[in-house]
């Protein structure tokens, strides 16, 4: 009996070798016979109508098969709802090539299909459009007076409107002895996964399509394609075995999928459409937001009032919302609260979730305001937070299923050396650098969605699992395999987890840090049933060595069922299957959150980030020299992949605080730095010492695995911690992200 549990062990990614050797195939890498290549033409105006299209020159190019525009596109579903997807906000989904109307700059207006990519790209430059332009608005700051409440709809279930006010905020704030009022701003960001959005559609005939797509949700896109093109669900198969990052941008079907399928159906050919880097800026993004906070405390630093209001942009056609303003009251108790959230529709594409949507936006404002209050109170920022530590969720009065934030504070501070901080801004100098320490708290929801798992023991005695979920680079394959291996007592190599295929049983799209809980719990449920079935078969064998035993008397290990107190008595999985006439033992089960019980609790992951920055005393160049993030996210299935998740998020936090922004030229109505040379994300030279700590957080209530997910939580606190460190170094508070060093000059 040699098999050791793998959960909690730093198992390396099972697909790692395929990825580093280039053997892993991504959506744009499937070569199929007679493949045609589509290249998208995007609108060059921001708003208006197409009045004339000339595709003649493009069509005349040798190798061009077809140029599809709104004028000659095939018939499409006409009912708006048929274009919807599981993540669609309230409103009317954008429909590519639907009509002559231009709703945003960069909107796809044609697809050129040719025998090779370069021909398609060249011919795309020859398609000409004449437009009738209309005035547009793309600047949030200029349109704040248009702010209005968001429409409600299906997607609002996960993003409820702001909670109702409690107490009397205005009265409390007016009379508070200590208070702070500030405004925070951050710009647009685009996800920019390194893998470009791409789809390869294999036209199988008879209305059947096999589609390799870049997505975070195979079934979501399957339903979309079937609905829009009037196909049977079972005839549409979406495969996404490898996804080179997505960060939220793959939560909804993007336009390359639509155009690729349209071309394949029209031409009855295999077609691939790959977007280029510039086109990666022509769909979803993180919305720019303006936030206002007013927080007050009593003389002892106990919060008495929390007011947080946010205005974010959305498109003219959908009301994309995030949960921004509710977080402060989930984190800190205060008797008087007032929260407002509004949208300004602009002539841009609808935003979409991007790593820690809403949470990281909110926490920038909340945790910088807390920092300001700490200085006013002459309290250490960490001590101030501990004085306002919430043992139960202040916004609902419910207990948390678990909350090890205190341990995050303590372990993070200790590892970082927080106690060495001189409280006076600008007081610590290292040669020609001002040194600043900053900290911030992070919080993220702990989601779990229903998922179905098919599990079977094969005649080789091995475990095979089937589920539609993707692995967007987070380590899902590895983590799911670990959970399954441990449940059945098998070594990892005896587990095969098939995933990234819409034909397999249901999982939600991979978002919100939900997959380990959702799909993982489905594995636990399926494994339990499978074990029951195996045990029954084993106990029923003639002269079974475990005859007469109850299920409690046996253990599953190494592909055998042993008697707990007599390891010499066992039945192997192989024997069970061969006595089952070689037929696999299988089961399909649903895993779902225990909603009734969970209603009694609040559930969340927490984090604390501590940051050291150096700011050049003359030139003001900023460097994040050290950062520690301590995370409380329940049980950590795989400390290696989890650490990678948190590290990646910390790098992103540095990016968000100091580098990353998509710049909108409001006169042209378009983004202008649409390439990775000018859309700055950190490079190696920007990243120094990063540390990750996981708090020991046992959660027996949240789900069968006690997990909360580690995708978003690593990012939430980082930008605020950096902004606070910059203040501590310089005495100047920059409330805009990203912080440009020259603002400190």
């Amino acid at each position: 009996m040699s098999t050791q549990p793998t959960v909690g062990k730093p198992v390396s990614r099972l697909e790692g070798k395929l990825k580093v050797t280039g053997a892993a195939k991504y959506a744009a890498e499937y070569d199929v016979p007679g493949l045609l290549h589509g290249y998208v033409v995007n609108s060059t105006i921001t708003k208006g109508k197409i009045v004339r299209v000339d595709t003649g020159r493009a069509k005349a190019v040798n190798g061009v098969i077809e140029v599809i525009t709104h004028q000659n596109r095939p018939k499409l579903a006409w009912f708006d709802l048929q274009y919807t997807d599981m993540d669609a906000p309230p409103g009317v989904v954008f429909k590519p090539l639907y009509d002559a109307e231009i709703k945003y700059n960069g909107q796809p207006v044609a697809l050129v299909v040719a025998t090779d990519f370069e021909t398609a790209r060249y011919a795309a430059t020859l398609v000409s459009f004449e437009y009738e332009e209309e005035p547009f608005e793309t600047c949030l700051d200029n349109n704040l007076e248009k702010a209005r409440d968001a429409k409600k709809g299906f997607a609002t279930i996960l993003r409820p409107p702001p909670p109702k006010p409690t107490g009397d905020f205005e009265g409390a704030f007016k009379n508070a002895p200590v208070k702070v009022e500030s405004e925070y701003w951050h710009g647009v960001e685009h996800h920019n996964p390194i893998e470009l959005f791409a789809t390869t559609t294999v036209y199988e005939g008879d209305g059947k399509l096999t589609i390799y797509d870049k997505t975070q949700g195979t079934i979501n896109n399957q339903v979309f394609v079937a609905n829009v093109f009037g196909l049977h669900f079972k005839d549409v198969r979406i495969l996404a075995p490898f996804v080179g990052g997505a960060f939220g941008s793959g939560l909804r079907p993007q336009y390359q999928l639509f155009l690729c399928v349209m071309a394949a159906l029209l031409l009855k050919r295999n077609v691939r459409v790959v977007l280029d880097r510039k086109q990666m800026f022509s769909f979803s993004h993180r919305p720019q937001s303006v936030q206002r906070t007013r927080f007050s405390t009593d003389e002892n630093g106990k919060l008495t009032g929390l007011n947080h209001s946010a205005v974010s942009e959305t498109s003219q056609f959908e009301d994309y919302t995030e949960q921004v303003v509710a977080w402060s009251h989930k984190l800190y108790p205060a008797p008087n609260t007032l929260f407002e959230y509004k949208l300004v529709p602009l002539d841009v594409h609808t935003p979409i979730d991007m790593r820690a949507p809403g949470g990281v936006t909110a926490m920038h404002a909340i945790e910088c305001t807390m920092d300001q209050l700490a200085y006013k109170l002459n309290l250490d920022p960490l001590e101030f937070r501990l004085r306002n530590y919430a043992e139960t969720d202040p916004s609902t009065q419910k207990p948390f299923t678990s909350k090890a934030l205190r341990e995050c504070y303590q372990k993070g501070a200790e590892k970082f050396g927080w106690q060495k901080r001189n409280p006076t801004p600008g007081s610590t100098i290292r040669r020609n650098k001002l040194v600043g320490y900053g900290m911030a708290t992070g919080m993220w929801d702990a989601y779990q969605f229903p998922a179905r798992m098919e599990a079977m023991i094969t005649k080789e005695g091995k475990l095979v699992l089937n589920n539609a979920v993707t692995d967007i680079g987070t380590g899902t394959l590895t983590v799911m395999s670990q959970i399954a291996a441990d449940e059945l007592g098998l070594p990892l190599e005896d587990v095969t987890f098939n995933y990234g295929d819409s034909k397999k049983p249901f999982s939600m799209f991979q978002g919100g840090s939900s997959v380990t809980a959702s799909t993982g719990v489905a594995i636990v449920v399926a494994a339990k049933t499978l074990k029951k079935k195996l045990f029954k078969k084993a106990a029923g064998i003639k002269n079974s060595p475990i005859a007469g035993a109850s299920e409690e008397d046996v253990i599953f290990k190494d592909g055998n069922i042993y008697l707990r107190n007599d390891p010499t008595a066992y039945v192997s999985f192989k024997d069970i299957i061969s006595l089952n006439n070689g037929r696999a033992i299988e089961t399909t089960n649903m895993g779902a959150p225990d909603v009734l019980n969970l209603r009694k609790y609040s559930k969340a992951a927490h984090s604390a980030t501590f940051v050291e920055v150096e700011v050049d005393k003359d030139l003001k160049i900023i460097t994040v020299t050290r950062a520690v993030t301590a995370v409380a996210a329940g049980k950590i299935i795989n400390p290696k992949t989890a650490r990678s998740q948190i590290l990646g998020s910390m790098v992103w936090g540095i990016s968000k605080a100091l580098h990353e922004e998509t710049i909108m030229d409001e006169k042209l109505g378009k983004y202008i730095n649409t390439n990775l040379g000018e859309y700055h994300i950190p490079v190696h030279a920007d990243i120094h010492e990063l540390d990750v700590i996981f708090a020991d957080e046992k959660d027996t209530l949240i789900n069968e695995l006690g997990v909360k997910g580690v995708g978003e939580i690593g990012l939430v606190a980082v930008p605020a911690a950096i902004a606070n460190a910059v203040y501590h170094a310089t005495g100047t508070r920059i409330t805009k992200l990203p912080i440009h060093f020259d603002e400190l000059l």
């Binding site: 060249y122 030139l619 160049i621 042209l668 700055h680 490079v683 030279a685 060093f741 020259d742």
Partner: protein, 339 residues
Amino acid sequence: MNNFDYIRASDIDDALASLNTHDNGSFIAGGTNLIDLWKYNLLHPDLLIDINHLPGHHAIEEIEEGGVRLSAFLTNADTAYHPLIEERYPLLSKAILAGASAQIRNMATNGGNLLQRTRCYYFYDPDAPCNKRNPGSGCSALNGYNRIHAILGASENCIAVFPSDMCVALAALDAVVNVTGINGERNIRFEDFHRLPGDTPELDNNLKRGEIITSIDLPAKGFAKNYSYLKLRDRHSYAFALVSVATGMELDGDIIKEARIALGGVAHRPWRLKEAESFLQGKRADEHSFAAAADMMLEGAKGFKYNSFKIELAKKAIVRNGLMALDPHSQLPGAQPSA
């Protein structure tokens, strides 16, 4: 990409003769900018003349006057790490290594570095007005997002900046550019090579069509004892300079015998001011002198909505870089973390 012909030139004459066999012929060396421009639909060459393999054109060698000649066809990486450059012209080496990325420097050539186009966002967007790309269409940057744009020598037609780091050092070193055309060879002083935008922003430099840069001459004086290159930007690598400074000095004790200061990221060409350099002659090499020279260099600088900070930043950078040049081996921490 449009279809195109490709030939590998056997020598300079072959390359020059091939250019006019097509309407839109283009030389290609490293291609690190040309391919970008092509993909962005700004250029459509119908003939590529590969000038990477011209025999006898890949050397760095000492020349009679005591200087060094760099082949134009050598890569930036091979130049920056060449012993003659590291020893005699470390300012040039440091400037090259401050630019681009290792991969790009491995491809990019010295001649190509001089000819790279601006990184103005609007220049790269074929649908935006841009006088440099489409003369007469207007300048989108003038009233647009102009954080990365010029504060010196700009015109109302164009406020783009020249993005090279290498050229800032070449300007400080008084390099000479050797070119060959159908009508023979000529030499262009570095300060005459790049242009200010004026009324013809479409012209970046004074190289004529049908001319090839063959080599760059560095005068004997390399300022190898007292030099520094400081580059300030929005991240610590792989970003173009908001402001950069190349400083070379010859000292007599703590008195400046000769000083060279060139600025990058602030104008349509590397920016020098002879008056400021003469002012420093005979002065003490200290913060005070550098600050006075900085004020002279930035006199008349004009900021726009998003880039006025560059004026102050450039002054501070000149001072810091002067101090760094006093002890180049320690490289007093400038833009780098102190760890």
